[in-house]
Structures are given as C-alpha cells and as structure tokens.
C-alpha cells in the first residue's frame, strides 16, 4: 500500500528494505534491518542517540525519512567497529572512562567519527562544538572530549584519509 522497496547502502553493503513512506531511518535500521546500535532517545532530532553518518555527515536517524536515503552512503555504529575489532575511537572511549550507562555512546562515537574524518586534529573546542547535538546525562562530557582527543592523537585518521 504505502510501502516501497528501497535499496540502501549501509556499512558498505547494499540492502533492500520494504519501507513505509513515514518510516524513519532509525525505525528501518532497528526494526527492519536488525541494526540496534543506534538508539531512540527523543524522536525529535535533539539528543543524538540515533546518530548515523550519511554522506560524511553525522545525522539524526530519528528524523530522517528512510525513503530519502536511497543513493546515499550510510555508516552506522555497527560499521565503525565491533568488540572483536574495535575502532580507535571506541578504544579511546573505553580507555578514558567516557562510557557510563552507554545509551548515548553509539551516537557519540558516530559524531566523533564524522568529526575526525573531516578534521583529524580538532581542538577541544572543536570537539565540543561537534558534540553539541549529542546529549549525555551521565558523564558531563569531560571524558568523552578526552576520548576523542585521545583517538585523534593516535593519528589513524590521517592514514584513513590518505
């Protein structure tokens, strides 16, 4: 009826999903594709728990219509790293105690990844600015900023961009 078969490029793979015109990308990721790393936090694009990278920019999947994502390159937290093979940003989050309840953490890591991909050596101010759409209620952000600074210091991003 109101559904349409769309092809999405997620974490380097082409996947198909039967999408309702009102379905958000977050709904499709979680309920249709089983990618549960992005979280529902507000549904209004204000907390960042659902961040994914779309064409290089960190976006809130909870306010992004899935139907408009065809042809775009999407990276979710699952595409950044996993417990077997974590990304340096994820290592830095654990290393600096930037994780507490963990519910905002995937969104934070995604925002950090998008930032470091375009600016491999951000200042603390630039890190804070890049996180202004990600709410954390546990950590006061201090150790999250530390984590991203530490990840940047590992100089892996220069290599990735080359």
């Amino acid at each position: 009826m109101d559904k349409k078969l769309v092809t999405l490029n997620i974490n380097g793979k082409s996947v198909q999903a039967n999408v309702h015109k009102k379905d958000t990308l977050l709904f499709v990721l979680r309920e249709e594709l089983g990618l549960k790393g992005a979280k529902y936090g507000c549904g209004t694009g204000d907390c960042g728990a659902c961040k994914v990278i779309i064409d290089g920019e960190a976006k809130n999947a909870c306010v992004t219509p899935a139907i408009r994502c065809e042809g775009k390159i999407i990276t979710t937290i699952e595409g950044i790293g996993n417990t077997e093979n974590p990304h340096p940003i994820q290592e830095a989050f654990v290393e600096t105690h930037a994780v507490q309840c963990g519910f905002c953490t995937p969104g934070m890591v995604v925002s950090a990844k998008a930032l470091l991909d375009r600016n491999s050596k951000p200042t603390r101010e630039e890190i804070r600015e890049a996180l202004k759409n990600n709410i954390c209620r546990c950590t006061g952000y201090e150790k999250i900023v530390d984590a991203i600074e530490l990840a940047a210091s590992k100089e892996v991003f220069d290599a990735e961009q080359m």
Binding site: K36, G37, T44, D46, E78, V94, C101, T105, T139, Y141
Partner: protein, 779 residues
Amino acid sequence: MLNKCENTPNASSSTSATCYQEQLLQDLEVSPSGEKLDYVGRSHKIDLGWQKATGEAVYLDDMEFHNLLHGRILRSNIAHGKIKSIDTSEAEKMPGVHAVVTYKNTSQVVFNGLVRSIDDDWPATEQIFSATIRQYGQPIAAVAADTVRQADEALKAITVDYEQLEPILDLEDAYSNRIKLYPEGNRLPETLKETGDLEQVFSQADNIIESKLDTPMIHHLSMETHVCVAHWDNEDKLTVWCPHQGVFGAQIVLSKIFQKPYADIRVIRTLMGGAFGVKVGIIAEPICAELSRLTKRPVKIRFDRKESMIGSWTRHSARLYLRAAIKDGRITGLDISEYLNSGPHCGGTHFIPVAQAGKLFKLYKFDAMRFHGMPVLTNTPLQGAMRGFGSPQLFTAIELLIDKIARELNEDPVQIREQYLFKPYDENPLSPEDVMGNCRSIDCLLEGAEAFSWQDELPVEGGYLYGKGVGVGLHGNGVAPHAPDLTGMTLYLHEDGSYVLSTGICDHGGGSYMLLAQIVGEILKVKPESIRIKKPDTENTPYDLGAYGSRNTWVGGNCAVKVANKMKDKLLQHAAWYFDTTPDQIEITHGSFTNSIDSETVSIRKLLNKVLYEKKERLIVSEYFSSQQNAGSYGAHFALVRIEKASGKVEVVRYLAAADVGKAINPKLVEGQLEGGIQMGLGYALSEEILLDEQGVPTNANLKRYHVFTADEMPKAIELKLIEKYEDYGPFGAKSIGEAATVPVASAIVNAISNALGGEVFEKIPIHKEEILERINKR
C-alpha cells in the same frame, strides 16, 4: 586548616589509630590495615564498556521476544477532571489490535507505587486507570497491537468525554485546601524537627535575615526512556523485564495490584540506560501486564520522550522560606519552612522532608534550628525521587541564604562557612545515634578554596562581569535509620577458580558492578574483570531494597566485603584441611594457596576439585548486610562565572568540586559521577524546568524546548579534588558520591552570579539570561 586527628571518637583510645589509618591512606594503594591493595583504589574499566562503545550492548528495546505485541498509551489532555464517557469500540475493531484496556476492564486496586514492603501503609491513591483525572498525561487507555503504528492508529479511534475541573498548581494554594484533590484534602504527612531553643534564639537576635527560594520541576532525562516488556503466560505467571532500580520493590507492588503471590511474579532488570531516580517505581509495568493478561502474549511499551518527561515523575518542585537569627555578628539560629510538591500522588514524597531533616542537621552547627516540611498534592505532573532526594532543593536554598548573610555581615563566603561546619565525629544534634562519622566538609571547603585560588582578584574584561561562588552540601549513604537498609549477595566459586557474584543491586550505568567486583577481587585476590555478575532478577538473585539513596557503594560495598570474607574463610579452612594444618598458616595468593610452614602450594583448581569430590561440597556462600549507619558525603563546589553585559548570558568559565568520598574505590568512576552531577546541577541553576500553563498543561516537554547542558556549554575547565580520609563504616573506607555530586552545584553557580551582580538576590531557579539582563539594566 583542620587538624586531621582532633575530634576522633573516644579520643583517648583511638586517636593514634585513626591518625595512623589516615597516614596510611595517603598512599592509595594501602588498606587501613596496612595491606597493599591490588584492585581497590584503581580505575578499572566499567562493566560492558566495550559492548557499549560498539553499540553491541543490549538494552531492553534491543531485545527480541517471540510473538511480541506493542502497547501504546492514550493520555489525558486535561490536568484535573473526570471521564464522563469513554468509547473504545472502534479501536477494538482496528487492524492488528489485540487488546484495549481502560479503567473498566483492569485492576482497580488502589496502591502506592513506591512501597518497599507489603506492610508499608504509605498514602495510596494510584490506580492503573481511573475515571478521575488528576494530572495532564494521566493514562486513560492502552492498546496492544501487532505494530506500534497500528496501536497509535487505534488510540486515535478512542473517544473520551471529559468534565474539566480547575487544576490546583500552586503549592501554598494546595496547602490551603481551597480545592481538594481528594476528600481528605491535599496535605501529606508533615515533618517537623527542631534542635535548641529556637524561640529564644530568635527573640534575642540582633537581626533576622530572611530569604525565599522556588525550585523547579526538572526531569532526570535518562537517555533511555521508560520501557517495559510484560508476559502474563498461560501458566498464569507474570514476568516483567524492565530497566528497574529495584526489582524486588516492583514485585511487591505488582503483587498487590494483581493480588498474586510473589512466586507468580518475576521481575528481571535489564541493562539500564541511565536512571537518576526515575526508574524506581511502577510506571508502565501494570499497563503492560494488563495488556499481556488479556492477550497471553508478551507486550512491550516504550515511552516516547514526551511521555517519559510527563508520564513518569520529576524532581519535586519546592518553595522554601528561610530565616536566620544573627547575634553579635554570629549566626545563632536557622528556621526553614518548605512546601514540597508531590503532584497527584504521594509515592515516597512524604519521606523527602524526613530525608532532608536527616541531612540538614549535619551541615552547620547553630544554637537552634528548625525544619518544617509540608508536602502537598497538586495537579502537576507526578513528582518523585531524583538524584539528591530533597538535598538539591534544601541546600541550594541554605547556601544562597548563607551568602546573603555573609554580604550583610561583610564576611568572606568561605570563612563564614568554615565557622559553622561540623567537624569529624561531632555529635549529630538531632539524633546522636545517627553518627556524623568522619565528615570532611571543612577539608572540602578549605582545600577546595586553596585549589581554586579563592582569594584571587576577579578578572576584569570590558563588556563582561565576573563573579565567584561557593556552595557546600551533602547527601547520605543509604536509607538507615529510616528503613531496613538491606542487601544480599551470593558468591559462587566454580571448581576452575572462576567467580560469579549474584546481587539484587542494580547498576544504573555508573559502574557499581565493577566497584563490587573490585572489592570482591581485592579480598579474594582475583582480577575484578574475571568476576561475572549475576544481575537482579527476583527469581534468581538475592534481595536488595533498591538502587537508590546512594546505597550501592555503601550498602552493596559492605555486603561485598562480607560475602568475600566469608568465602575467604571457607577457602582457608579447605586449604588447611588439604595441608592438614590450621587456616592461619595459609596464605592466599592469585590462583593458589601456600602453606606457610613448608611453602607447599596448591592451585585453586586442584583444591576445589578435591573439596567437591572428597568433601562433597561446592563453594557457594551467601550473606546479607543491613547498614545501621548513614554517614554524610560532603562536597564544596566553586564556580567562576562570566556574564555578558549586553545579553545577560552566563558562562561558567571555571569550576572546581572538592568531594568527601572517604576512599575512591575507583577514582575514574568517582570523577565520572562528579562531572555528570555538575552537568545536571548547571541545568538546575540555569536552564532546566518543566513549565506548565495555567491549566496545568506542560508547554516544553521535549528536548527542543527543555534545555539541558550540552558539551559546548560546559565549563572549559572542570577540576576535581577527592578528599580521601577514610570513613570507618564504609567498605575500604568509601562513601557514596552519585547523589552528593550534584547537591552543591546550583548554589555555587547562583552565588557566583549574585557576586558578579554586586549581591543581587535570586528567589527562583533556574535563572535565565533575560532576568540577569534585567538586573544588569537596573543597576
């Protein structure tokens, strides 16, 4: 500076011992008994850190359930009134709909969702659904359907006809009983506590200084919204999964609502995406259970953000009136009256003033003090436990008054506080049996002031005003003596030497499980990361009262010490049996036991297998711990603010928190609590408030309009100073920090703003830039 070793209990006998302990504790790697510490005092990484950082951690909303239905709730759009009629017949016929519930087909048991024991006779007015509406957003009906979308469509087909009544929203108006929410009125049990001769002190005063403070409803905003799955199965057993702070309390309330034995109700705690007090009570669980009872299928209800904000509870808003008696330039008396908002039901609100009084009399020593707490029922959203349980309201009000007095007496804010703060082991004037313990508020104040360079001149910059402020406060450790402060743990030792710690304690996300593992690991010489934690489940873990009241470190930590020591004793006995010697000859090391007589060693694996097959015994030990003491966790916070004259915008440029933690079992976890507490306190001072219109309808229940501090708005420099002076009753000397972390924040910020504005007095928080600009323009 305070002499560290004055004022110890039984000074003649224990002074030197206490001094010795303190000296030892200067070195973080040494226990009070002089043992080298392997794990306690070190920053082990949080439980499930890798899973959380990679998005692999499984929260309830991520779990798969076979045959799951989705529940959604219809909520009232008025704050006070009655349902004249409700029609669900169309909704019941909608595609995908399996059940519709209202007050007509559900349990009508009247309950209090916060009771801790079946015998608690707390004021009970809650029902799953009721025809009487007492707050905006009250559940009216709920639908279970195959999909969330179908459930939402069905809600739209339910028609409700209301009779609207005038809401009662102001606290003093509610106290007057002009409009009664209930036939018996709006007043909840009051608290009145007094020390000294207040009347005399005030009658002899040279001067009386008064103040007032209104504090807001703020929301916890755990990033995970409320979520619950209930399955009322075809054996008539109810299983509930939820990120709940107290599964045993939930079991008790559900048992009462559904008149079912505990054995037929199982509550399982799922990984918690933050709590801060908002996941203690019964919220979506009974509705979920009713939908499952009718369908015999598991039903999930996950709140959206607005529902979480208005359909759970907020921190209690309060109005405090204070007056201080001044005689010969000294503060001699303090008198506080507080109206406290409970919203439409009591919950645990009547305990807020009790808890406040328990802490108030442990901060400043005046000749006479009185506290009168008056909780009232209103038509606002429900109010309930939130990080600090009354302490942020109370100590913000007191600390603003202390600064007002300091200005009038022309005294320095740090020096005036130093004169009145309690010293370690002072007697509690309200109830001597409720010990003060090794309270280190003065250390926090003075060491914090020194580290902050309190005496330095304020910066001068064109277009800006600078101000500095200090705030002191405390929170408790557990709920003694007001409730049986009980927790149990079972420790399993497998024959290969691996441990499982089973606990009813819920880790909210702050790292309590690692802390417990560090304690057990320290005593048994086993790596904390290797200890598996079996998490709260009413069917499979020992009892715990609930993860609130800053109990996890204090009560949980002590229970972990107890159960680990019991296991250690057993192991030593078995090793002594193995070597045919006495337990005192055995040395326990990582993974093995050594007979000190001949240095013969046996591995834990070999010993335990021999014990299993020859003594026919497995190593499973259980212990319960009930805390009898409730020390204070003190803090002194310092803020430097910069106010833009043109806009009134406040920037906190520097912040320092000194915290009396006894002993940091895991320093990085302590820092995390403080930094998070500061974020929450900044919002309390400057931005957070759920606003209602004159009809009691919330106008900003979303994250666009309700503003919490984001990374770019935080102070650029946050400094933390941990005061580790060892608390006698704490596990390894430790005290709580989770709630204490946020108590002094708002007062430090507001006092700094007042300082910047030449002593302006504020009678309401949060303070918005518009109000500051108005004050600047008036000057």
